[in-house]
């Protein structure tokens, strides 16, 4: 029981970290701060525009795979991994 609660707590902590990054990159860089970031350039892309149409999607991908990896480690740590 004890074990399960802390497994869930650690899981929530991971989710929280991921969702903060998720928010900053898409809503932060892509929408709220887009004008400021557009002052900078990434090749022919304005930076804010790049985050909105490319960067956010790559970040989402990275986040899911990072979370999956971390959760697999957590499963082993708490001895709840599947066969």
């Amino acid at each position: 029981m004890e074990n399960k609660t802390s497994y869930w707590q650690e899981n929530l902590r991971l989710i929280f970290i991921c969702l903060i990054i998720w928010f900053i990159v898409s809503f932060g860089f892509g929408i709220l701060l887009v004008e400021q970031l557009n002052e900078f350039r990434l090749g022919g892309y304005k930076l804010g525009f790049w985050f909105a149409q490319q960067g956010s999607i790559y970040t989402f991908l990275g986040l899911i795979f990072w979370y999956t990896k971390k959760m697999n480690e957590l499963d082993i740590k708490y001895n709840v991994e599947e066969e």
């Binding site: 497994y7 989710i15 929408i31 022919g44 525009f49 956010s56 999607i57 989402f60 795979f65």
Partner: protein, 579 residues
Amino acid sequence: MEQLKLFTYIAVFGSFTLYFVIAWLARAKSTSDFYVAGGGITPMQNGMAIGADWMSAASFISMAGLIAFLGYGGSVFLMGWTGGYVLLAMLLAPYMRKHGKFTVPEFIADRYYSKTARVVAVICLIIASLTYIIGQMKGVGVAFSRFLEVEYDNGLYIGMFVVWVYAVLGGMKGITYTQIAQYCVLIFAYTIPAVFISLQLTGNPIPQLGLGSTLADGSGMYLLDKLDLVVTDLGFKEYTTDNMGGTVNMFAYTLSLMIGTAGLPHVIMRFFTVPSVKAARSSAGYALVFIALLYTVAPAVGAMARLNLMNTIEPVAGQNMEYAERPQWFKDWEKTGLLKYEDKNGDGKVQYTANAETNEMVKVDRDIMVLANPAIANLPNWVIALVAAGGIAAALSTAAGLLLAISSSVSHDLMKGVFTPDISEKNELLAGRVVMTISIMVAGYLGLNPPGFAAGTVALAFGLAASSIFPALMMGICSKRMNIKGAIWGMCSGIGVTMLYVFQHKGVMFIQGTDFLGGLEPNWFFGISPNAFGVIGAVVNFSVAFIILQFSEDAPEEIQEMVENFRTPVGEVVAAHDH
């Protein structure tokens, strides 16, 4: 022209043959095969199937066209339709897979210990799914009529027949393997023209990089800068900064699409097909890989199509194209009525400007951009044929997934779960197939006689998923205490607020003239458009549910134990539950 037609027939009917063969090899033998493909799909396969399931005619045909004309504003679709997978992978999919049932309403029934909740969920699911299928059927009809010069009606009948054969025969198992093939067809069809066009314009074959490169015309100018210049010269808003309806609207729109995506039952149910919790997490990742392949190319397709269109009409500033010398694709699309020219100043040339008074391109339908793109760029005929097969694959694969969601919710949730619990497995399977057949006929009928509100209901489908299904599932997993009263009141008020807002601006049941606040922007709540309102519904849902929870009893002990159990990949509580 004849060669193009021949190539298109080969591409389209060749792909159909492939789908039939796969469906026959993977036909369903049990209810488990039929609903969840026996739970034996690998994460990579499942990711591809989710990709095909998710990317509909709208993603394939309409999205790049929307981006081409909305510019930066089109980002809401790119972020909104991908960001939802982060929520799915972390907040919903693994736990629902652990619970190990066949359908979304079944999960809701177990978690909220209520048949009423199950029926409410089934109703939301059917409305959301059916409205989607209409769009797919229309997509099939349009693709057939444009490329094969078959009547729209006949194209639709062929599409209905094909999807009927492999969905009814194969169930989830057949659909999954067919979707994998369809994914391959659609991604090739989408990226190959994009690679060619990117190479032509910038010399870089990778569209994602081409979009940020300099033009190959020797000017040394960046493609996006050129596009900004061309459109602003004609009075349009700057491509890279045109924000659709302002920051608040873009924020709300993106968030609504994200949580709507995470709440769509036909996507969620795919996570029941994998063998483990671990596989459920990673299939969300693989799904996004396969989706991102198309979604990161789409902005390049949109921007390059817009630039090509502008350059065709006005190759050098001030020297407009003579209408008499217009290219073949221009004439082809004029025939369909989706492209219209009107010589307002009588000079025989084509002026395309933002000013409604002088603009002579009186109609440029956004949906033609992807389909016309290869022709605008003078690509070979086999590429154009491939695009036709890809568009049809995108529409069919999504339609099949939606049909399965509907048939399982009726045969498994309503019949087996609520009204006739004694039904045998064999009869349940038969019922599933009968319901699927009926759904295809209803969808076909609605595709032939599209109701006036067809376009508006897609917004409603996302609004429903965002304001009812997603919050109910998320609270069910993240809050052990959440009870039936909170869930049902939350769902009803979330849907209520969303529908009220959509109806007051777009008409009750989308009937024109019954909208009491008008579609006018000044009446929008904080400038949020009706399509973007799902997130407000979700906030209302969460708030109402937690307020009610404060004034009522927590969920019973055994439910709290069940929640504990599905939060961990393995658990002894399953055993305790079975004893």
